[in-house]
Structure formats: structure tokens, C-alpha cells
């Protein structure tokens, strides 16, 4: 009995001790305790009883009284003891136990000795039990701690809302992380469903779940809640209602799982899926998926179009792939499929013909292997027709290039940037270039073929090329050790289309023929040049712009401008006078357009500004392509010729002029003579008429007329004869001067004597009607002149003066002489000469209009003029009508 009580107390203590733990633990402890022994009374911790409503106390304890322990540990001990005593006495179980104990005691007596032993054993068992209990407690504690850690460390939220109105809500600590500390606190107090956190659009989901759970007792929903950073979290919530045995709801419980990551992953997967779908349906590649039998499972749009267009068969899921392709590809398709099924990845090119056009497809059969077995086969095909065409063109072009490359006479060697030989053609003189007998090979560094002593020079060349230079030079190389040959060697960069340095190309071109030709040409040119240089005529050349580019020796000699001075200068502006610029520019334009111009005369200016007349011919100069590049001008110096011609012309002109003058003079003379003769004859006819009529009258009427009458007529005849004689003398005198027969005979003439005699002579001959007043004003007593001519002139002058001053009693004669000249003036006071007549007075037989009544031949002044001409003198006439006339003659005096 004591043992039982003690044990019960122990059990109570054990229960008390475990009341703070989870209910399951309490249950476990209780069950464990019952298994060891049956207590007389059960004291159950109130908290445990509350939280473990399914703790089947009765099931365990049977009819034993139950005492529920409340209060503090010490009070509980005391209370437990009181209740225990009370319960032990009153409970039925206690009584039964007592009966069994009494029986046992009876047995004990019977087995007294055994009891003692058992006692000892019991003691040992007790010790062991204590130990076990201690160990169990430790284990339980550890387990509980683990469970708590699990619960607290779980991301999931576990909640329970009391529906009894007791307000006993629960929510796991993890809610703090998801919903926030406040929410957890609010939940524990008010049991709200954190509506304010749920996204507005998702609330209906949660609302519906809450409705469902109240109707069905179970619901689940997925919704989002807002997070602190304005994002959202996906939550999955499961809830159910716990009813009591009467079906009355006790509480609502739930678990919330954060499924944000899962949701996001789903979203990503969905997006990928969509994108893959887009790619799949829009790709140009034909994609078909088949199962292992060859039946089509899936195909994209590209394949659908292709199949319809090329094979005419509309692809359908479930058909064999070889039934969709063209007839000729069927077998191939089947074979390739089989091979793919065996796990091979097959790549091939298929050709389809559509309206005579070949369509090339690159086709892949890809086995899809799962667990080491081919479950599906995918065909992926792409159209490579264009690629194929380009490839064909490229191949053709490459073949052409190769043909050219191999057949050209030039040598080409292609090097990589590190001078490795990439390619070379069949031209046979690479060895010559490299001065080696080794056979060229691709992949070998070119430098290996070059003598060491030339290697650095060659490398230097290549480096220059690498820096962007293109090197080109002519070299005279030994050809196979036989003879020297000329090559033009060019080294250039080779770049790819993207501009990347691909390598170098060494090109050698045999220029032997060219060199020989050049040599011949040079020789010809030299000869020609020498010919031009040494030609005895000026030759020069100009370029298209008129600038001198050739200037031979004679050109230089002739103009005084050296070759160096003239090269590059414009010949028109430098050699010609401005007046010729325009016309010569036009000529040169013609010449430079291909029209040669011959023999035009042009004066060229020399350095000393002398005019050199050149007869020039311009011919266009052409280059090898017959393009006009300038003009050659060949000249001929005709300066002397021109001068000679000009002299000749001048001479001819002078002669002609002289002749013309002589002719004119002769003509005038003839005319004058003819006129003179005509006038003279007329002048003779008049006195002859008088004579004829007078003599005829006497003859006819001698009987009828008086002797005085006869005498009168005879006198008249005499007078006419005298007049005719005088006339004849004058005419003869004039004739003499005209014929040049009158010559000046100068002699010493005494002025006073000569003029005194003349004065008396004339006074007498004119019948002393007038006194001649002689005025001599002379330093010289005599002058050297032709006396006869002086006399003739003075007689004529004085006679005229007397004749034309009929009313006057004198005329004046002035004689003035100095060293240089003799001036003789005769002045009358007579009728004067009309002005209009003065200019004609010296014409033979001309008589002034007022002189008709005065006797005269009209030859006097004419004779004076002739005489003055001979003496190189001149005459001056001053006259006023009605007042008189003064005529002065001036004769220059010549001294030996």
C-alpha cells in the first residue's frame, strides 16, 4: 500500500513535471506509467487536460478517481496528498486493489521467504526504475526541445483559432517572419484573418475558402499578400474545422505555406514555355518530333509549309515521317530514322526539286534518349539553298582563280603574318627570287629559304609592308645561274574583307622583254632627242597647258633663253607680244585638238626684246594610247628673209614711187606742153588774124582807101609782128626752162651799175611814161648771181608795173642785198590785181581779169617763177585793187 501511494505520488510528480510539455508527451508519460503500475489515484495537470482533450483518461484509469492538479507546485503536493488519501478511501479501484493486496499478502505470507528475496530484488528494480525514469525524462526533454525547434524553425505557419469563444488562439512563431510581429499579436488576440495583407484581387479567393471551410469543414486556397517592400508573396493555405464529439466546432486550424519561390519558378517556366512555343512555331527551321516507331508527334509551322509545298502532303500527327517526304526520299528517310533510333546523330543534306529549282536542306536526325533508350527522334532541317548556291559560285570562282593563279606567268607567294608560306603558284621562278634550290613547300617559313645574309634585309622589307607600305622594285636576278633577268617584285599586304591582316603577297613579274623594249625605246628616244637638240632649226615642245617641255639648242640660241629658263613656262605669254596672244591661243587650241597647223609666221621676242620672225608649224604630240599630250613646234628663222623682203619691198616701192612721180611729172609736162602749145597757138593766131585781115584789107581796098589808111594798117601789121616776136622769145625762154636747158651761170654782178642800166632801159622802152625810182640798200657792191636771169626778171617786173599803172608817173624799184640774199622789190601805183587772180598769176598765159585791155603775153610772171626756181628764190605779191601792186623777189646768195 505504501509502495502504491509512493508510486502514485511519484507519478504525480512526473506528471507535474511534464505538464509544461506538449500534450503528446503527457500522454506518453501517462501511458508509460500505467504500463509500469496502476495508481490509486491519477492527478492530471490542468494544462494538459485542456490541451489534450483526446487524452483518454478514463480509458487509462478506468474507474479510478481523477484529480486535477491546479496551483503551484507546493500547493499541488499538499493537495495531492489530501486528495490521494481521500481518493484512496473512496474509490472502487482502491478497494479492488486492496482486495488484490490482501490476496497478495496472503500469498506473501505463504511465500515469506520469497518475499524477502523479492524485497531485495524490488529494491534493485526500484533503483533501476529510477534510473530509467531519469533517462526517459532526459530523452523526452530532448525530443520536446527538438520538436519545438522544428516547429519554430519551420517556414510554415500553423494557426488555430478558438471557436468556442474561449479566445485560445494559436499561431506559430514563423508567422512573425511572414506576416509580421503585429499581425501575429493581433491574431493571437482578435483572430482576424490578416485581410489587410491580402492583395485586393486575391481576397475573394481567401474569402471563398473561409466560406467553404465553414460549410464543409475543409478548404484550401492560394493567394498573395503584400510584403513590406511593396512586392508580394504567394501563400498556400489549408484549413479545417475541429468539432467536438457533439459535432460542435471547437476551433479552426490551418497551415500556411509560403509558395512564392515555387510560384515564381512556375511563372518563369511558363514564360519560357511561351517563348519556346513562339520560337518553335516561328523558326525557319523545320522541326518534327517522332516517337520510336517513326510516327509524327509534333511538327512546327515551317515544316508544315515546307511539306505541303515540296511533297504535296499535309503533315498529320500519327503519320509516319517517310510518308510525308517525297517518294525518292522515302527509303533514305526510313534508313536515317533507323540509324537515329540506334542512337546516332545524323547530319545530311537533302535535295528537293520544286519547279526545276533545287532546294537544299541541311537535315539532322537527333535521337532523344531517355534511360539509355531512344524514345523519340527529332528531325531538324534548315534551307541552305542560298548557301549552297553561294558555295557553288564561290567554288567556281575559286576554281577560276586557281586556274588563273596557276597559269599566270607571274609568280605569287602568299605568306601568313609570321611569313609561313600559305600558297604559291606554279610559276617557276620563286627559286630565282629566293636564290635557293630547295623546293618550296606550304607551311614552311619563307625565311628558311633565304640565305642568312639576306634574311635581315628581307625581314626589313616585310616589316615595312606590315607598316602599310607597298613595296615594289625592279631587280636583276640570276635566272637559274644562266643569265641575268629582270623582275618586278611587289610585296603587299593581304587583308580579309573585315580589314584584318591576312598575310603578305609577294608577286614577281618577268619584265625582261619590257626592259629590252625600254632599252630600245630609250636608244631611239636618245637618238631622236639628239636629232631634235642638234637640228638646225628651232624646235620646242609644249604640254597640254601650253607649258614648254622641250627646248632645243637653236631655240635657246635664237631667243637667248636657256632650256632651264624656259622649261615649264607658258610659251605664248613668255615669247609673244600681247597682240598675238589671242590668235596663237586659238591656233594652239586647234593643234591640241589634233589639227596640225603649218607655216604660220610669227614674231617671237628674244631676251633682248628683239623680234625674231619664225615660220612655225605645230603638230600634236601623242602618247602610246594616241592621246594628245601636247604639241611639237618646229620653226624656221625667217627674220633675215623678212628683212630682205621688206628691203626689197621698200626698194620696189621707192622705185615705183619715183617712177610714178617721174611719170606724173612727165604727164604733167606733156599736158603742160600740150596746153602751152594750145594756148601759144591761140596767142599767135590773134595777131596773125590782125595781120591777115589788115593785109587783106589793104589788098582789097587799096584803090578806095587813103594812103594814111594804108599806113595805119601797115603800122598795125608791124606792131603785130613785134608782139609775135616778143611772144616767141618768151615762149622759147619758157621752153628752155621746161626742157632744163636753162642753166644758172653765176657771175659777179655790180648792183648799182646793173640796176641803173635796167632803170634807164625800161624807162626808154616804155616811152618814158613813168619815172623808175631806184632805191638801193646794200652793203655789198656786188653779188654773185646769174645776171641774165636777174635782168629777165627785173625787166618783166618793171614792164608790168608801168603797164598796169597807166595814170601814175613813177614806179619804185627797191634793191636790198646782204651777205645771204638779194631782194628786189617793184612797186607800182596802178590798178592792182584782184585777189582771186593772184594764185593763178604764175600760170603761163594767165592774165588777171582786169588786164584785158593791157597788152601782154601772160608769160611774164611765169618766166619770173621759172627763173626763181632755178635760183632757189621765192616771190611775194602784195596788191590792193586801185592802189597798186608790190612784187618782191628774194634770191639766196651762194658763196663758194
Amino acid at each position: 500500500m505504501r509502495i502504491h501511494h509512493w508510486l502514485c505520488i511519484l507519478f504525480c510528480l512526473e506528471l507535474l513535471f511534464s505538464c509544461n510539455r506538449a500534450s503528446s508527451s503527457g500522454k506518453l508519460s501517462a501511458e508509460f506509467s500505467y504500463a509500469v503500475m496502476v495508481p490509486d489515484i491519477v492527478i492530471v495537470h490542468a494544462g494538459m487536460a485542456l490541451f489534450q482533450p483526446d487524452f483518454e483518461v478514463e480509458r487509462i484509469t478506468g474507474t479510478q478517481p481523477i484529480s486535477i492538479l491546479l496551483g503551484a507546485f507546493v500547493c499541488l503536493l499538499v493537495l495531492s496528498a489530501v486528495v490521494m488519501v481521500f481518493a484512496l478511501r473512496k474509490s472502487r479501484a482502491y478497494r479492488e486493489l486492496n482486495k488484490r493486496h490482501e490476496a497478495l499478502l496472503i500469498t506473501n505470507k505463504e511465500f515469506a521467504a520469497a518475499n524477502e528475496e523479492l524485497k531485495y530484488t524490488n529494491q534493485k528494480l526500484e533503483d533501476a526504475h529510477v534510473k530509467i525514469a531519469e533517462q526517459t525524462q532526459t530523452i523526452l526533454r530532448q525530443k520536446d526541445e527538438q520538436l519545438n525547434r522544428v516547429l519554430d524553425s519551420s517556414q510554415d505557419i500553423i494557426w488555430s483559432i478558438d471557436l468556442t469563444g474561449a479566445g485560445k488562439h494559436y499561431i506559430s512563431r514563423s508567422a512573425t517572419q511572414v506576416l509580421g510581429d503585429n499581425v501575429r499579436g493581433e491574431l493571437l488576440i482578435d483572430a482576424i484573418y490578416w485581410q489587410h495583407l491580402v492583395l485586393e484581387e486575391d481576397w475573394p479567393l481567401k474569402e471563398e475558402a473561409l466560406r467553404n471551410v465553414s460549410l464543409d469543414g475543409y478548404a484550401e486556397c492560394t493567394y498573395r499578400i503584400r510584403t513590406a517592400d511593396d512586392g508580394y508573396q504567394w501563400l498556400f493555405e489549408k484549413m479545417h474545422v475541429v468539432d467536438d464529439e457533439n459535432g460542435m466546432p471547437l476551433r479552426q486550424e490551418g497551415i500556411i505555406v509560403d509558395i512564392t519561390n515555387q510560384k515564381k519558378a512556375e511563372e518563369i517556366i511558363l514564360r519560357y514555355q511561351q517563348q519556346i512555343d513562339i520560337i518553335f512555331s516561328n523558326t525557319q527551321e523545320n522541326i518534327v518530333l517522332m516517337d520510336f516507331t517513326g510516327k509524327v508527334l509534333l511538327f512546327n509551322k515551317a515544316f508544315e509549309y515546307f511539306a505541303e509545298a515540296v511533297t504535296g502532303v499535309r503533315p498529320v500527327v500519327g503519320k509516319y515521317i517517310w510518308d510525308i517526304t517525297t517518294k525518292d526520299r522515302r527509303e533514305v528517310s526510313q534508313r536515317l530514322f533507323q540509324e537515329a533510333l540506334e542512337g546516332k546523330l545524323i547530319k545530311t543534306t537533302a535535295v528537293f526539286y520544286m519547279q526545276d529549282n533545287a532546294i537544299y536542306h541541311s537535315v539532322r536526325y537527333e535521337p532523344i534518349i531517355s534511360d539509355g533508350k531512344t524514345t523519340h527522334v527529332a528531325i531538324i532541317a534548315s534551307d541552305i539553298t542560298q548557301l549552297k548556291e553561294q558555295e557553288n559560285i564561290l567554288r567556281e570562282s575559286e576554281a577560276n582563280l586557281k586556274a588563273i593563279f596557276d597559269n599566270t606567268r607571274d609568280s605569287f607567294t602568299l605568306l601568313s603574318p609570321d611569313y609561313t608560306i600559305i600558297a604559291f603558284n606554279k610559276a617557276n621562278f620563286q627559286n630565282v627570287l629566293l636564290r635557293t634550290n630547295k623546293e618550296l613547300r606550304t607551311g614552311v617559313n619563307l625565311l628558311e629559304y633565304i640565305d642568312e645574309d639576306r634574311r635581315s634585309a628581307f625581314t626589313y622589307l616585310l616589316e615595312r609592308v606590315e607598316n602599310g607600305e607597298m613595296i615594289s622594285y625592279e631587280a636583276n636576278l640570276q635566272n637559274g645561274g644562266l643569265e641575268a633577268a629582270w623582275f618586278k617584285i611587289t610585296i603587299s599586304q593581304v587583308r580579309s574583307a573585315e580589314g584584318k591582316l591576312f598575310g603578305y603577297c609577294i608577286e614577281a613579274h618577268d619584265i625582261n622583254e619590257q626592259k629590252e623594249f625600254e632599252g630600245t625605246l630609250t636608244a631611239i628616244a636618245r637618238e631622236l632627242s639628239s636629232l631634235i637638240e642638234n637640228a638646225n632649226v628651232p624646235i620646242f615642245g609644249i604640254d597640254q597647258h601650253g607649258k614648254i617641255n622641250e627646248w632645243n639648242r637653236v631655240s635657246a640660241e635664237l631667243t637667248g633663253f636657256s632650256r632651264t629658263e624656259m622649261i615649264g613656262r607658258d610659251w605664248i605669254t613668255n615669247l609673244l607680244e600681247p597682240e598675238y596672244h589671242e590668235v596663237v591661243t586659238a591656233i594652239m587650241k586647234d593643234a591640241l585638238s589634233g589639227v596640225p597647223v603649218s607655216n604660220f609666221e610669227l614674231p617671237v621676242l628674244s631676251r633682248k626684246k628683239q623680234k625674231i620672225s619664225l615660220l612655225l608649224s605645230v603638230s600634236p604630240r601623242k602618247d602610246a594610247e594616241h592621246k594628245i599630250v601636247g604639241a611639237t613646234i618646229v620653226g624656221q628663222n625667217i627674220t633675215e628673209l623678212i628683212e630682205y623682203k621688206q628691203n626689197l619691198e621698200r626698194m620696189v616701192y621707192d622705185r615705183t614711187r619715183e617712177l610714178n612721180e617721174a611719170l606724173q611729172k612727165e604727164k604733167e609736162l606733156v599736158e603742160m606742153k600740150s596746153k602751152f602749145v594750145s594756148i601759144a597757138s591761140h596767142e599767135f593766131r590773134t595777131p596773125l588774124s590782125s595781120i591777115s585781115l589788115a593785109s587783106g584789107f589793104i589788098k582789097k581796098y587799096k584803090q578806095k582807101i587813103t594812103p594814111e589808111e594804108v599806113d595805119k594798117r601797115l603800122d598795125n601789121i608791124e606792131k603785130q609782128v613785134g608782139h609775135m616776136t616778143h611772144l616767141l622769145d618768151d615762149v622759147l625762154l619758157i621752153g628752155k626752162t621746161e626742157a632744163g636747158k636753162l642753166v644758172v651761170h653765176p657771175s659777179e654782178v655790180d648792183i648799182a651799175d646793173t640796176f641803173e642800166r635796167l632803170k634807164n632801159e625800161i624807162e626808154q622802152s616804155t616811152g618814158n611814161t613813168h619815172t623808175i625810182r631806184l632805191h638801193i640798200d646794200s652793203i655789198e657792191g656786188s653779188v654773185n648771181t646769174d645776171e641774165k636771169l636777174i635782168r629777165t626778171m627785173v625787166i618783166n617786173l618793171l614792164t608790168n608795173a608801168v603797164k598796169f599803172s597807166p595814170g601814175a608817173s613813177y614806179v619804185d624799184l627797191f634793191v636790198t642785198a646782204d651777205y645771204n640774199k638779194l631782194a628786189i622789190g617793184v612797186k607800182d601805183y596802178g590798178i592792182g590785181i584782184p585777189e582771186q587772180d593772184i594764185k593763178n598769176l604764175f600760170e603761163p598765159f594767165y592774165r588777171a581779169s582786169n588786164a584785158a585791155d593791157v597788152e601782154g603775153t601772160g608769160l611774164g610772171l611765169s618766166i619770173i617763177k621759172k627763173a626763181l626756181d632755178l635760183l632757189r628764190g621765192y616771190v611775194d605779191i602784195k596788191s590792193v585793187i586801185g592802189q597798186g601792186t608790190e612784187i618782191t623777189i628774194v634770191i639766196p646768195l651762194e658763196h663758194a
Partner: protein, 122 residues
């Protein structure tokens, strides 16, 4: 009634000789020393014949003849030229002026008379 003849001559001796001769032959002679003189006298005295020299001062023979031929009162009067100038030099002009005769100097009295008579007898 004797025929009236006007003689125009600038050489006084010659004029005298011709006047004397024609007067002796019974003609009424009007001597004039130049063309101007003659034209003045023609205004009141109309001769039956005009004998004129050509080269004369003041108004020469041709000018006189032109004046006569332009004057209706005297253009009918026959004119004879008495000149030393060779006739061929003046013929065209003389003909154009409708001159009756050309008496070349020098000439004999008979020749002169013959011409005068022939004109006046027409």
C-alpha cells in the same frame, strides 16, 4: 536796108579790122569789145547776125551765146563764132547752142565774107 551785124571781139585791132571790112562790104556793123558790152547793146538793137570771139574778159563768148539763146526776143538771131581756139575743142558745146558757123582765126577776108553772106542769105 543793110543787114545789121554785131561783132564781139576783145582784141581792139582785130575788132577794128573786121568792122572796117564788113562796113566796106555794106553791112551795118555794131562793134562790141566784150560779151558784156554786146549783151547790153542787144537790149535795144537786134542784129541779123552776131559774130563773137570766145575768150573775152567780163563775159566770154559761150556765156553770151547762152544768154542770147535763153532770151526769146533774140534766140532766133544766128550766131557765128570767131575764135583762135580749135573748133573740135568747142564743137559739142557750139552745136548744143545751135551756133550757125565757126570762123577759125586767122582767116581771110573772103572766107569771112563768104560765111557771113551764106548765113544772112538763108
Amino acid at each position: 536796108m543793110p543787114k545789121k551785124i554785131m561783132v564781139v571781139e576783145d582784141t581792139p585791132d582785130l575788132l577794128q579790122h573786121v568792122t572796117d571790112f564788113l562796113t566796106m562790104e555794106g553791112y551795118d556793123v555794131e562793134p562790141c569789145s566784150n560779151g558784156h558790152d554786146a549783151y547790153r547793146k542787144l537790149a535795144y538793137s537786134k542784129p541779123d547776125l552776131i559774130i563773137t570771139d570766145l575768150l573775152m574778159p567780163k563775159l566770154d563768148g559761150f556765156a553770151l551765146i547762152e544768154k542770147i539763146k535763153q532770151d526769146k526776143t533774140m534766140q532766133h538771131i544766128p550766131v557765128a563764132i570767131f575764135s583762135a581756139k580749135p573748133p573740135h575743142e568747142n564743137e559739142a558745146r557750139a552745136l548744143s547752142l545751135n551756133v550757125q558757123a565757126f570762123i577759125k582765126k586767122p582767116c581771110s577776108l573772103d572766107d569771112l565774107h563768104e560765111i557771113v553772106k551764106s548765113i544772112l542769105d538763108k
